[in-house]
């Protein structure tokens, strides 16, 4: 909330507006303000946000025209109640459905096209094609919120977006809720003596994720052993595994993140030659998750854990 400063020695007539203002402030402070309709108390502008590389970005006032070029950032913005401040999101931001999707690309950003939406804040996941340089040349603030490596990164990004949009309280509430749901999922799975082995599939050419990725960290929290970790030497985060190795590792659980892109499901996996003997295939422990949920690091990680954790719990009971 803004306080208006008045010059010393104002004429008595000028006191009337100040009295009105003070009265209004008094009244609004007493009334409980709905969290989503105005800036939360405690958010001051200008605010400085730390950026990768050690720089900071200063946002002078509450942004009203946000352009999001990152699907995860879009999900976060809508989850913290900044939806009315978002005027355009990129072509990959398909959640929530009410997000104002445009043809803007986060991969091949077109600075002119972005400027066409007269944004006062731009948010992206990576600085490709000179995006940061271009937006800064327009004297606009741009926040880069890169792929999170673990849940703490994700919570930090939600907090940053909360501070940047004037929804710090909602952001903190969301983070607390996520922490407690994650904690509940983690508590619900036992940590058996022989950890269950998991294979997470990104596409049908056997690209997988190691524990150095966001999704890999989720599996680690759930106490699973990721078979792709043996390939960390080849690629630290997204190795392409050999079919022979996957079959011989005999994973207990297979999570398919290629149900939409490559039309894979338990049937197609089971019919791959040599795969029918895998423990996960024999016990039917092949889960398909939405490709988007598995590739983003926003609030829907809870949905991801909802899909995976109960199955892990079930497998551990059966083991």
């Amino acid at each position: 909330m803004r306080t208006h400063e008045h010059k010393a020695g104002a004429k008595p007539a000028a006191l009337v507006p100040s009295v009105v203002v003070v009265a209004l402030l008094f009244l609004s402070a007493c009334a409980s303000s709905p969290a989503t309709s105005s800036a939360s108390p405690g958010t001051r502008f200008p605010v400085s946000i730390a950026q990768p590389g050690g720089t900071t970005v200063t946002i002078a006032q509450r942004p009203r025209r946000i352009v999001s070029l990152s699907p995860t950032a879009t999900e976060m913005l809508f989850a913290i109640g900044a939806d009315s401040q978002v005027v355009a999101v990129d072509d990959q931001s398909n959640y929530p459905a009410s997000a104002p999707k445009t043809k803007l690309s986060g991969f091949q950003p077109n600075i002119e096209a972005i400027a066409g939406y007269t944004p006062d804040l731009v948010i992206a996941a990576e600085d490709t094609g000179g995006l940061v340089h271009g937006i800064q040349a327009l004297h606009l603030p741009i926040l880069i919120e890169p792929a999170a490596r673990n849940l703490d990164d994700s919570y930090l990004q939600i907090a940053q977006l909360g501070a940047a949009t004037g929804h710090a309280t909602e952001a903190a509430t969301l983070v607390a809720k996520m922490r407690s749901r994650v904690g509940a999922f983690v508590a619900s799975v036992a940590k058996p003596a022989r950890p269950l082995r998991i294979y997470h599939e990104l596409d049908n050419t056997y690209y997988s994720v190691t524990s150095a990725t966001f999704i890999g960290q989720i599996y680690k929290l759930l106490g699973l052993t990721n078979i792709a970790d043996a390939a960390t030497g080849a690629a630290p985060d997204y190795p392409q595994l050999s079919a022979e190795y996957i079959v011989s590792s005999n994973p207990d659980l297979i999570v398919l993140a290629d149900t939409k892109c490559c039309a894979q499901d338990i049937g197609t996996v089971g019919s791959r030659p040599g795969w029918s003997g895998i423990a996960a295939v024999k016990s039917g422990a092949v889960i398909g998750v939405d490709d988007d949920i598995a590739s983003r690091w926003g609030p829907r990680v809870i949905d991801f854990m909802q899909a995976v954790a109960p199955r892990v719990q079930q497998l551990e009971k059966a083991a």
Partner: protein, 350 residues
Amino acid sequence: MLGVKWRSAPLVVRGLPSLPALWAAVGVVAFLAACAVGALMGPVHISAGTVVSALTGGSIDSGQANILWSLRFPRVVLGALVGGMLAIAGAAYQGVFRNPLADPYLLGAAAGANLGATLAIAFGPGTTLIGVNLVPLAAFAGAGAAVAGAYVLGQTVSGLRSNTGLILAGVAIAAFFNSIQMYVQQSQTGSLRQVYSWILGRLTTAGWDGVWLVLPYVVLSTAIIFLHRRLLDALMVGDDEVVTLGISVRRVRLIVVVAATLGTAAVVAVGGTIAFVGIIVPHTIRLLAGRSYTVVVPLSMLFGAAFLVLADTASRTIVAPAELPIGVITAFIGAPFFIVVMRSTRAATL
């Protein structure tokens, strides 16, 4: 049958060198040795005794038998088919165009296959047509369409008596198809990784399905090229002289190019556009064993198969349990090897 009077052809080309027995033996040994290496090595350690037992029908652990028969052996066989086909197609193209730098992708087969595969991966993943996955079908169709387009274009430009028109048409078609492929690849960010992976080449096998898919094409194509090896020698003397020998240059060129392209399209459809094999293997054979196509054609087949099987073994063992795209290996090994061979051979043979 093949546009040539068979009775006159042997008269014409009699006296050309035939394949020396020593080189044939070396080729066969190299091929068998490479297959042995491919069967014995892999990201999963399986003892030599187990592999031999699996091949001779002895009883072994079912998990290892599964890996060997469903994954490793089909991959070795496919590697041999793909490598042999690309090398022999390269030799055929080099013979037809009288150019030692020709490769099977000269007339746009790679560009067409890449475009077909990109479209199939981006817009129809997982769909099957007549029981076969759409991607190899689309790649095959794309490769065929590109070469056919190059032929038609080359014919309108300068007539098929001249090689140059055909090659230029191939370059134009390849550039055009490449541009469309690049646009689709860039605009469909969701499938970027799969497309890129396909283009670099990978001998992923659907068990033996990939082998059965390419086998008829490879057999047919290889047979036709093999039968024309003496004619390829005859073509070396030049278009005008060859016509006086009673050989229809246009028809021989058409048949050989069609056969080579058919085989190339089939193996590229399954394995992706693996580079270097088609140009390096025949050229190296030529530098080492002699310029006659009676030598180059059969040896290219054997050594091409051996080369690709070894490259594939490397791609799945070097960074095991991860895999490297095979195109990276063929270029990495092939280029320096080729330079060594070139430097150690007399310049006169080039």
